[in-house]
Amino acid sequence: MDGAHVLKTTEAFVPRTVSLPRRRLRAWRGGLQGSEFTWAVAFTVPYIALFLAFVAYPVAYGLWLGHKPSLYAELFADPIYQRTVVNTVLYVGIGVNLKMFGALLLSGFFMRRGWWVKGLLLIYVLPWAVPALPSFISIHWMLNGQWGLLNNLMWDVFGIDGPGWIETSRWLALGSVIVSHIWKWMPFWTVILLAGRMAVPQELYEAAEMDGATGFRRFVHVTFPLLANLYLICTLLSTIFTLGDFNSVYFVSGGGPALSTHVLATLGIRDAFDIARPDLGVAAVMSSLPLMIPLVILLMRKLRTTEVRL
């Protein structure tokens, strides 16, 4: 990070104690006029077209497919659906929080000096870079009760006959899916939080150290308050992504054993295609909206306030 940039970021923090004159000139003062307005509109036209063609229309069509109340009555009465809702809440709740917390801790770890730490970081990010399909299938096989790698290792090293991780028990399978999800996505968020930590200027750490705060207290009083906003935004974003996450559950447990680890995303696809009831499938996924919409609104408001402060 070069000196000018450090200065800029420090400026952003300093307003807590000192108020700097706010000099934000609007490059295009007093609103856009004339040809500039046309340019601005022209710049947004590609996205608006994309949005209308590929978001608005499909969403409208989907809503139309799933608008009959009888579908929801049918869904709510089905014990498989009820189990799926519980699974989704657990999957998202545990998965996102463990993942983000782990990312927070590991981002601190990766701040350490040393060539081996840097090398480890390179390897650590592999799960994100390797495509989802083969890695999840690999995990699926790894967890096979009879000939999977995990049980083979346990037998060879400890002499224990491992359980069928994804074959016998709903909770083991759900746990396996959550762990797989964390395995894949924690590196991504770790890197983001790590960059967030690196943006905290050294001077603050040194000032804190001179005041006698190190280690845990330094984290609580200096690092975390500055990272809190980023952490919250990342958690919200991650929750939204995870609610729609199809690949992990589909390829690791397949919704098994016996349809007990489906989440709303995969159940929707199963209802739509395997049972040939697309309307039911759409209804299943739509039923996650009451959870989704508040999250997105929260995220939007968070982003808005972040912008305004500057």
């Binding site: 609103g31 949005f51 995969t266 759409v282």
Partner: protein, 291 residues
């Protein structure tokens, strides 16, 4: 050293060594955690045909045979492998360019030019994520028919760009805050048109964010399965993930070929990540810390 003696915490050296040891232990745990599924992939790829269900931890007779079969398209599920790989590449590159182009244009208009209804647009963009991708799958199938794009790579590109662009706009907005608006003003005073400001000032300074978002978009397209599977039906138009999923239906358990294919498929994104990682981390978080 001059000055007052530095006050050190008790047992400083011991704590430091313990700390290092703990860090090393954690490092080993991270290594094992990260590499085990990947090791499984590699191990299965090196198995000889028919030996996949063994209980060995490392194949008794490791062989490169499966990689050779994949590369020479010597197995019937793989007879279009390079063509499908090309399809994946085509989709990935097109997604990257379109996402960057559309996203940066929109973000420029909203963030720099302060378009009046700009906030509406960025919020609408986020709404894309309200509806999970798996929900939109069936409607997408229908609308692609309507737009006459059935079984066409562009239908997948459209889907990927739709899902990547809101995140792109978000990142661009955040990152652009660190670029002083005075630069734009100076250019405007010099008589530059918005187009020129966009190309000469905005884009070059946004480079780290562009790289970050571009990598993200590429990985998104590379990771995608559901849409590619639904929207592409023939061997010539399929992509590698869809071809890989075919293996799961096979009676012959050709898992070694499947994993060899997967490893070859995994090479481009891994290479790109490692090539661009510094720029990526810089671009992902500028501005996210503030507020």
């Amino acid at each position: 050293m001059d000055g007052p003696p530095v006050r050190r915490r008790p047992h400083y050296r011991l704590r430091r060594n313990l700390g290092e040891a703990a860090a090393l232990a954690l490092g080993v745990v991270i290594l094992i955690w990260t590499l085990t599924p990947i090791y499984n992939m590699v191990m299965v790829a090196f198995e000889s045909h028919g030996a996949v269900f063994t209980t060995d931890i490392w194949p008794k007779q490791p062989s490169f045979a499966s990689f050779w079969i994949v590369v020479t398209q010597g197995y019937w599920y793989l007879d279009y492998f390079w063509h499908q790989f090309g399809n994946s590449l085509y989709i990935g590159v097109a997604t990257v360019f379109l996402t960057l182009f559309i996203g940066s244009l929109a973000s420029f208009a909203i963030g720099r030019m302060r378009l009046r209804f700009g906030w509406l647009l960025s919020n609408a963009a986020l709404l894309t994520y309200v509806i999970p991708a798996s929900f939109l799958a069936i409607p997408f199938y229908r609308i692609m028919h309507f737009y006459d794009l059935s079984n066409n790579l562009w239908s997948v590109i459209a889907a990927e760009v739709t899902f990547a662009t809101p995140y792109a706009i978000f990142i661009f907005q955040q990152y652009a805050v660190s670029i002083p608006i005075e630069l734009d003003e100076a250019a405007r005073i010099d008589g530059a048109s918005p187009m020129q400001v966009y190309f000469r000032i905005y884009l070059p300074l946004m480079a780290p964010a562009l790289v970050a978002v571009g990598t993200y978009a590429l990985l998104l397209a590379w990771n995608e399965y559901l849409y590619q599977f639904l929207l592409l039906s023939s061997k010539q138009s399929m992509t590698v993930p869809v071809a890989l999923a075919q293996f799961l239906n096979s009676d012959e358990a050709p898992w070694n070929y499947m994993m060899a294919t997967a490893i070859i498929y995994a090479l481009p994104p891994v290479a790109i990540y490692y090539a661009f990682r510094r720029r990526m981390t810089a671009g992902l978080t500028m501005g996210g810390v503030k507020g």
